[in-house]
Structure formats: structure tokens, C-alpha cells
Symmetry: C2
Subunit: 339 residues, 2 copies
């Protein structure tokens, strides 16, 4: 932590004046040692060639420190993953902070250190930023916006309109960890083993798939808010297809399943931060699983279902005795401020 004269953030740190400059000079600019950032202009300038992906996310998670991570790494990983889901390689990120007056500088520092590590981890540069401060009771500790730019993979052809009947639907890892980690903290629940958020970057796994399978990877989505069920419903609606899921195939950790059962929550609606759904040509589906399993966090990847011409706009689970149960979109709020 840098040597600062102050222990809490005050309104003056958002004034744009001397205190803002102190915070930036002695803190932020030292931490994020990027040549582009050091220019200290109103924006970053750099060269880009080709097709790019551009994505934004504001993070308002409560609590800002949670089992398995904090809002800082979540904000970087979340935007890195949105870029990856476009079939792009993340390169540059902006970082905009809305801090509530009274935030402890040591908490801010822990969060920014996590931002730095998460960015370095995926070789992304933080090139521009902004800091605002709001009065106590007009924010909640810290909100972070990250907006990212990635370079499209030359073999990527990720497009919802390319989905067709018989494509396989794959999930890259166990579901419901992030949401249940947050809920456990908020509800004060403890289990035999801790439930940790799965916040992590997905870019390496995704790039490996596109390297190998190119256009056979038709759609990638990370099922964050609303969970797997909501994202699949969005796809089914937009593409006017049916999505048939197999019964009892979703990977889920034992303690997460237990927590869901205890709280009466369907894990299909619980937020994730470190898995993705892939819709791929069925001819490559089992090879996709082979590649995913070569990654630490792809060990439990599995084919969960397939695209169907019948029952357009519906997601349904087919039971072993042939019945169909429709899985709708998340209605109302399940767990506010999960990301």
C-alpha cells in the first residue's frame, strides 16, 4: 500500500483538484505502471488494426469482498470474459471508480491490487480511467466500471444467427458457484466446505477452442446474472429455436447443490462468473469437451443438450422417461447486486 496522508476517501478525492491528484500520483499511477496511462491525458491513444470487440460492465456487487475474490478482480475478469465471448483476445481496459465517501483507503488498495493482478494475469493493459466520489449514503463502498477492447480472433465466427438444429450445447464447468458464494455470505450460512465464487478469466479456454475449431464454435455466452436458464432462454428467443437439455447432467459442486437445496433455489438460475456456454457444431462436440478437459477449470465440462427445430423459443428439460419440463427465464429478482 502506498504512503498516503489519509486513511479514508473524502469528497475532496473526487474534486478533480489537489486531493484527486494526490490519490492518482502517489497511488493509482504508481500501481498501474503503464506507459499509455502515464501520459495522463483525457484518454489513451494506441494503434489497432482489424475487427475488434468492445464491451462494458458496471460492477455493483455487495459485499465488495466475498469468498473467492473481490469486486476488483471481478470487474476485470467480467469484462475480459465478455470480450472472450465475442471470440476476441482482450487487450485494453478502462477503469472507472465511483467511490462512496468514507471508504477505507486500505480497502481501496486491496481492490486496486486485485485489479492489477487480474489484468496482468490475462495480459490486458489498463490504459485510461476515472475516479468519482459520492456522499455517504449515495453509493455503496465502491462501484467499478470496466470497458474493454479486444482483437477478434481471425478464425472466430461467433454469431447467434449461425445456430442451427442439432448443434450441441456445452457448459464449461460447474454451475451456481458465484451466486451461492454471495448468498451464503449474505445469509450467514456455513457448509462443510466453503463455497467460493468462480470469478476467473475464460479467455485462454475460449481461444484454444477457436484456434482448433474456428467457425464450428457458433456461440459463446457466460451465464452471469439470471444464470444458465436465462441465457439459454435469451438464445432460444432470439434465434427462434428450441433448446433441449438432458436431465441431471449439469455439473455442480456438492456443497453448492446442498446450499441450493437448503435455500430452495434452482441452480439453473444462479449467477456464474467463471464458466461459459458454447453452442457448437455437433460433429466437433466431443472434441470440444476433450480440449476443455485439458484445462484446470474445464474438468467437468459436459454436453448439456442440443438445439431443436421443434418448440421454438422454448428451453426444456427432457426427462429419462420422455417427459418435457419447460425452463423459463428468471422472473423477478433472485439475488440483487450479484455482480
Amino acid at each position: 500500500m502506498p504512503d498516503m496522508d489519509f486513511k479514508v476517501i473524502t469528497m475532496g478525492h473526487g474534486s478533480g483538484g489537489k486531493l484527486t491528484n494526490d490519490l492518482l500520483d502517489r497511488g493509482v499511477f504508481n500501481l498501474f505502471d503503464s506507459e499509455i496511462l502515464q501520459k495522463r491525458h483525457d484518454g489513451a491513444v494506441f494503434n489497432l488494426e482489424g475487427n475488434i470487440a468492445f464491451t462494458t460492465d458496471s460492477f455493483v456487487i455487495n459485499p465488495v469482498f466475498f469468498p473467492g475474490g473481490n469486486i476488483g478482480e471481478l470487474a476485470v475478469n467480467g469484462t475480459v470474459n465478455d470480450i472472450a465471448m465475442c471470440g476476441a483476445i482482450p487487450k485494453y481496459i478502462s477503469l472507472s471508480l465511483i467511490i462512496e465517501e468514507g471508504l477505507l483507503v486500505e480497502d481501496l488498495w486491496e481492490i486496486l491490487a486485485a485489479v492489477k493482478i487480474a489484468a496482468e494475469n490475462v495480459n490486458v493493459q489498463i490504459v485510461t480511467g476515472d475516479t468519482k466520489v459520492v456522499e455517504k449514503g449515495k453509493g455503496d463502498k465502491i462501484f467499478i466500471n470496466t470497458t474493454g477492447i479486444g482483437i477478434m480472433h481471425s478464425r472466430a465466427d461467433i454469431d447467434m444467427s449461425r445456430i442451427s438444429a442439432d448443434d450441441a450445447v456445452i457448459v464449461s464447468g460447474p454451475i451456481a458457484n458465484h451466486g451461492m458464494a454471495i448468498m451464503s455470505v449474505r445469509e450467514g450460512l456455513t457448509f462443510e466446505s466453503d463455497i467460493l465464487s468462480d470469478t476467473r478469466p475464460l479467455n485462454e479456454m475460449v481461444i484454444s477452442l477457436i484456434d482448433r475449431f474456428g467457425e464450428d464454435i457458433k456461440l459463446l455466452r457466460d451465464p452471469t446474472r439470471g444464470g444458465v436458464a436465462t441465457v439459454l432462454n435469451e438464445i432460444a428467443h432470439s434465434c427462434k429455436v428450441g433448446i433441449e437439455l438432458q436431465e441431471n447432467v449439469f455439473p455442480i459442486q456438492k456443497q453448492v447443490k446442498a446450499a441450493c437445496e437448503m435455500l430452495g433455489i434452482d441452480p439453473l438460475y444462479v449467477a456464474n462468473e467463471g464458466i461459459f456456454l458454447a453452442i457448437v457444431n455437433k460433429t466437433v462436440a466431443s472434441e470440444v469437451i476433450d480440449i476443455l478437459k485439458s484445462f484446470e477449470f474445464g474438468q467437468s465440462s459436459v454436453i448439456i443438450g442440443s438445439i431443436q427445430k421443434d418448440f421454438p423459443r422454448k428451453v426444456f428439460v427432457k426427462s429419462k422417461i420422455g417427459g418435457r419440463r419447460v425452463v423459463g427465464m428468471l422472473a423477478g429478482e433472485q439475488l440483487p447486486r450479484i455482480c
Copy 2:
């Protein structure tokens, strides 16, 4: 305003589920009719070639509706101007909303309509976005992050390190309007004529200057938070130069001057949203003023001072009888949440 079943924003609108989709489908996606946005992926994909400028800003202004504008157009103009200050032509923008539960849908709509008009006005496309909702008392109506991408003007060479002695310092228009408009509302002051925020895009004026003068335009900055004095101090510190200002040359509207005097505020520290400072080669300074005066909002542009080798890191006003008064950086907070 679109036909919605709800009159206020609830936590469910940030769930990522059905309510979020309703708000987006029937509201946001209809309003911002962009082909890229309609893809509804996690990010926008488009082609870029060359040097780009990338800039981010979160807007937390209070009140969100103010004389002369609202937070929506402020958020677009603010990011457009930061791009322009890099010497770039604004092209793409992301829009991320953090809404406080209970915001009236009609207020949201008025704000988003202002976003749309401001973006169309400068031919910028809103290509990706995000919506979060926080509980009542954990935000303040609405915070907006805009992050923008612009294409560098081929003749731009905006770089602080290019500033040298004798360069002229120019201001493009009257100072202190935005800050005093907000302060007047908050303090409940009324004047003979209204004080309006100067929120407006500056890209056209800037591009005209670069078209004509190229590298003779050495630095551009919009003096928002902290005002003209703070930005000039940042420049003086970073470039290790002195900046000498002439006495009584700053353009200021009569009612703004009166308000500043009444409240005992130095207009040099008051925030602006629709003017810029340019540091230019002295050989082109008077021609720069000629060009600026050909624009509606450049009528009162003027040379306010010059870069000096003496007194490095100091900004000072030289009086007519030869005395020097140092103008420091804004200390503490003058007016919180001005943008």
C-alpha cells in the same frame, strides 16, 4: 416514451432476467436503433484501422436534471469531448447505467432520449451497454458511465511533451457556466438571466483546428472538475513549465460573474463542460482565434496567456503593473458531484 407496464425501476430490472429483458427489448433497444447493438451479444464487434483514442468517464452529477441539460447528454458530450481532446474523431460509445431503485421510468426515458440526441448530434454510435439496479439509498437516481472510441485525426500530434516556451494558451469560450448553473440550483439562487450549463460537444471546433493547423496544436484539454486553474496547474507540473496568464482577459458571462462574486467563488476553479484550453504555436495563435470565432460557441475565444521557461510548475497571473499572483490547484472540494 415506450409503452411499459411499470412506472418505476425496481430491483428486478437489474436481475438479468425477464424484467431486464423487458426494459431492454421494449425500451432501450428500440430507442437506440443500432445494427451493432441489435446483435445483443455481450459486446459489440466492428472494424477499426489506425490510431485510436479510448476514454472513460462516470457521471454522478446531482441533480440529474439541471438548467441547460441532464445527465444523459452530459455523459455523451463529456466522453465525446475527452476523445476530441486527444485529437480524435468520436465514433463509438458504450453506455452503462447504475440506477437507484425507485427511479421514475419517465425520468429514465427523458435521460435516455437526451443520450440518443446527443449521440446523433455528433454522429456517434452507441454500440454496447449495461444496466444495473441498486437498492434505494445505495445510489442516487442514476449514475452513467460512457466509454468512447475515436479515430485519431491524421494530422493530430497532441502531446504534453511538445509544449515549449512562448506557446500561446487559448480558451475557447466563457468560463464557469456549468459549475455555477449547478451551484445556483443547489443553493436556490435566481438571477436576472438564467445561468445554463455549457454542456455541448466540442469535436467540430477541435477538428477544424487540427485540419487547419495540424501539429501547431500541441495540447487540448477541457477544464471540467477543478476548472481552468487546476488543469493549467496539471500541465505546468507535468511539463515543468510556467504558465503566465493575463489579467482580466477571461471571458465570462455577466450573470456567471455576478453569481461567483455573490458566492465568493473564483471562476478559475469552477467546472466547465463546453469549453477547451488549447496550447498552440504562437505563430498560429491569432489565426486559431479567427477559426474559433467562426463557431457559435467560439465567439468569445481569446488568448489568455503563454508558456514560460521561468517559474517552472507555476501558474501565475501577471498584473498590468507587473506583479505576479500564483494561481494554485484546487484544494479540497469546491462543489461535489458536478459531473
